[in-house]
């Protein structure tokens, strides 16, 4: 029986070439969690399986029982928890008790499920390697721990560049739980090494998700523009501003400020577009998956929220979408981002990028002092920056001239072959195990 690789949390369709490359690298079957890309992977010639199908109802029931038992054991320690989560006369436990125990129960199910999947693949076919899109979230950490016990190598393939949070936390990337991490570029490589990851565990591969941009020449971009205009009811001849919205990360005390700033940034973008109405500028809001796909996400009310703010700001030509990311980036006359990987993708496509700082400006955010990007210091500068990018050909030329160096900083060898390099790392570690 052919050996297999478990692939976790790499379900962006842009990762399809990576799945193909991994399967080819060792002539492996792939087990996918989640199973989102199974059909496209099979259509591309990959033998792909739904990893959840390995667990029958009896196994699922056992896992639920184990999780419930764990919660009961923790509940028996409540006085200790109440003491732990208090400060002086203030006690935090009563408010957090419910969500805390629910989170633990959910994590117990997810971690046990992941471990059981790895064990089942190892028994059935032989597990060659585990490839993790996230290794800091619960299921990713469980996969790394179980694979280590089984003697199977783990490789982390990040979704984007390594951020530089003001307060490093291991669950935000300050620790790599997998055996090796594939750095998208030198910026990330330096970050991983600086935070203590062994240099030989950091492989400079590039980001597989960005491979597709290597094939996007001017003609392909023009086709993207036609396609996205037709799909979203836009005028391909009128200027197109794409705004990459973001979600509120609740894992930091700065989130209360972010929440205010996210709305303020959007309103500044709208004000900039409104001022350019004579140019028939069209705005497309590209929703972040972290906002669109949250558990209680309600698409209509989210769309209504963005549309309503635009209407009250006097902007009628606005489209809000969670799709067409590649086409929109490729087609944009200006791309407005919030300290985001979307900006790097814009640079890879040769698009003018305006970066809006959501974090305090002294923070070492992406694009600080980056000559290839219009890096703003204050939200109020958005309107003027948009006008400059759309009207000033000399500025666009300067940005374009500086883009290759910026790309090299964030993206290793943007030649469309990062998928192959990541697959080679997986194969090398699997051989050595």
């Amino acid at each position: 029986m052919r050996r297999a690789v478990l692939v976790f949390a790499l379900s962006d369709p842009a990762n399809l070439p990576l799945l193909r490359a991994i399967a080819r690298a060792g002539d492996w079957d792939l087990y996918l969690v989640p199973p989102t890309l199974i059909e496209p992977a099979r259509a591309a010639g990959v033998v792909a399986h739904d990893a959840f199908a390995l667990l029958d109802e009896a196994a699922a029931a056992r896992i639920r029982a184990q999780a419930e038992g764990m919660v009961r054991r923790v509940e028996a320690c409540e006085p200790l928890l109440a003491r732990r989560f208090s400060s002086g006369t203030r006690t935090f436990w009563p408010r957090m008790r419910g969500p805390f125990l629910r989170a633990l129960a959910g994590v117990a199910v997810r971690t046990r499920t992941m471990s059981a999947i790895l064990e089942r693949i190892a028994e059935r076919a032989g597990l060659a390697a585990v490839v993790l899109g996230f290794d800091t979230i619960a299921a990713g950490r469980a996969a790394a721990a179980t694979a280590r016990r089984l003697g199977v190598p783990t490789v982390h393939v990040p979704h984007g560049v390594l951020a530089r949070p003001r307060v490093p936390m291991r669950w935000q990337g300050a620790q790599v739980f997998a055996d090796a991490v594939c750095a998208p570029g030198p910026y990330s490589h330096a970050g991983y090494v600086a935070q203590g990851v062994r240099p030989d565990a950091v492989r400079l591969t590039g980001s597989p998700r960005w491979d597709l941009y290597a094939a996007l020449d001017a003609a392909a971009r023009a086709r993207c523009r036609e396609a996205v205009a037709a799909a979203l009811g836009l005028d391909p001849a009128a200027p197109l501003v794409v705004y990459g919205a973001t979600w509120v990360e609740r894992g930091t005390a700065h989130s209360c400020a972010h929440q205010q700033a996210a709305l303020a940034a959007y309103r500044q973008v709208l004000e900039g577009v409104r001022r350019l109405a004579r140019r028939r500028v069209q705005l497309v809001v590209k929703l972040h998956p972290g906002e669109w796909s949250r558990p209680s996400a309600d698409g209509p009310s989210l769309l209504a929220g963005y549309h309503g703010v635009a209407r009250r700001a006097g902007v009628e030509r606005v489209v809000v979408t969670a799709g067409y990311k590649t086409e929109l980036i490729a087609a944009a006359d200006a791309l407005v981002v919030l300290n985001s990987n979307l900006g790097i993708e814009g640079l890879l496509c040769g698009r003018p990028v305006v970066n809006v700082p959501l974090l305090p400006v002294e923070h070492d955010c992406l694009f600080a002092d980056e000559p290839a990007v219009v890096a703003l210091r204050r939200l109020e500068e958005v309107g003027a920056a948009l006008a400059a990018v759309l009207d000033d050909a000399a500025l666009r030329a300067r940005l374009a001239a500086a883009a290759p160096a910026a790309v090299r900083r964030y993206a290793h060898e943007p030649d469309g072959r990062a998928s192959e390099r990541v697959a080679a790392v997986v194969a090398e570690l699997a051989r050595a195990a």
Binding site: Q66, R73, V74, C77, L80, L81, F85, S87, F92, W93, R95, M96, F100, A103, L104, V107, A108, T111, A138, R141, A142, T146, R148, R149, R166, V167, M169, R170, W171, A230, L232, G233, L234, D235, A245, R250, G251, T252, A253, H254, C256, A257, Q259, A262, L263, R294, P295, S296, A297, D298, P300, S301, L302, L303, A304, G305, Y306, G308, V309, R311
Partner: protein
């Protein structure tokens, strides 16, 4: 001229097919017309009608929007229907009111506007936001009805949502648009100064990273290859932060 004639012929054929109920064939004809002239307002509007008839309002919306922006009146009512379909009642209302106020004479648009329910009052009038909670996944709004005094909680996926709120006690309604939500949130959870937020993050992160190492708790949390408390650090950070912020003076 030849292409224009073909577009016109295809649009006419598509219209006939649609009227005969052959929606699939009509869609194909409209798309063939749009392949020849992507800007054709008649083909866009016709395709929108077919898509709406096929219960595909999200796709229809883009076609109607295109048609309306290109000057096809039929695009307006189609677009309003799509907006109503996806619950964007305020957008539908604003679209129709603006067009009619500008002098558009369209009985269908007037009828549609009359059918829309009246706008709900703003957040803070009948229903007030009194607190805000969050977890790794969602926001929780603590609400109180000013009419009957009932208090309850509702989840919200994003502060950018336009939420329709209703009191189950007396039926009072409110709408929380993002601007109002942000203003209320700033009151109940004011942004922290950068240094204060950093300090709080350090304290909370230390707490989240350490609690599960206590021997009694570690034994309770042991499940196979992981300490569940350690594996849950990312999710618990938000939960613990929420509790600490709520306990701060003025926190809610």
């Amino acid at each position: 001229m030849e292409a224009a004639g073909e577009v016109e012929a295809r649009v006419a054929r598509a219209g006939a097919l649609a009227r005969a109920g052959a929606l699939g064939a009509a869609e194909a004809e409209y798309r063939a017309a749009l392949a020849l002239d992507p800007a054709s307002p008649a083909a866009r509007a016709g395709l929108g009608v077919v898509l709406l008839g096929a219960r595909r309002p999200h796709e229809a919306e883009a076609e109607f929007r295109h048609a309306w922006q290109a000057g096809a009146t039929v695009g307006l009512s189609g677009l309003a229907l799509c907006l109503r379909e996806r619950g964007a009642l305020d957008d539908a209302r604003a679209l129709l009111e603006t067009a009619l106020a500008r002098g558009l004479d369209d009985p269908l648009a007037r009828d549609l506007l009359a059918e829309l329910p009246p706008a709900a009052p703003a957040l803070g009038e009948a229903i007030a936001l009194e607190g805000l909670g969050f977890s790794y996944a969602d926001e929780t709004l603590a609400l109180r009805c000013r009419r009957c005094g009932r208090a309850w909680e509702e989840p919200a996926a994003s502060p950018m949502c336009d939420l329709a709120l209703a009191c189950a006690g007396c039926g009072a309604r409110a709408r929380a648009v993002p601007e109002a939500f942000a203003a209320a949130a700033a009151r109940v959870r004011p942004p922290l100064a950068v240094g204060d937020a950093d300090a709080l993050d350090r304290v909370t992160a230390d707490l989240v990273a350490a609690w599960h190492g206590d021997p009694a708790l570690a034994a309770a949390l042991d499940l196979g290859d992981v300490n569940v408390g350690a594996a849950a650090e990312q999710e618990l950070m938000a939960v613990v932060l929420d509790a600490i912020l709520a306990a701060a003076p003025g926190g809610a």
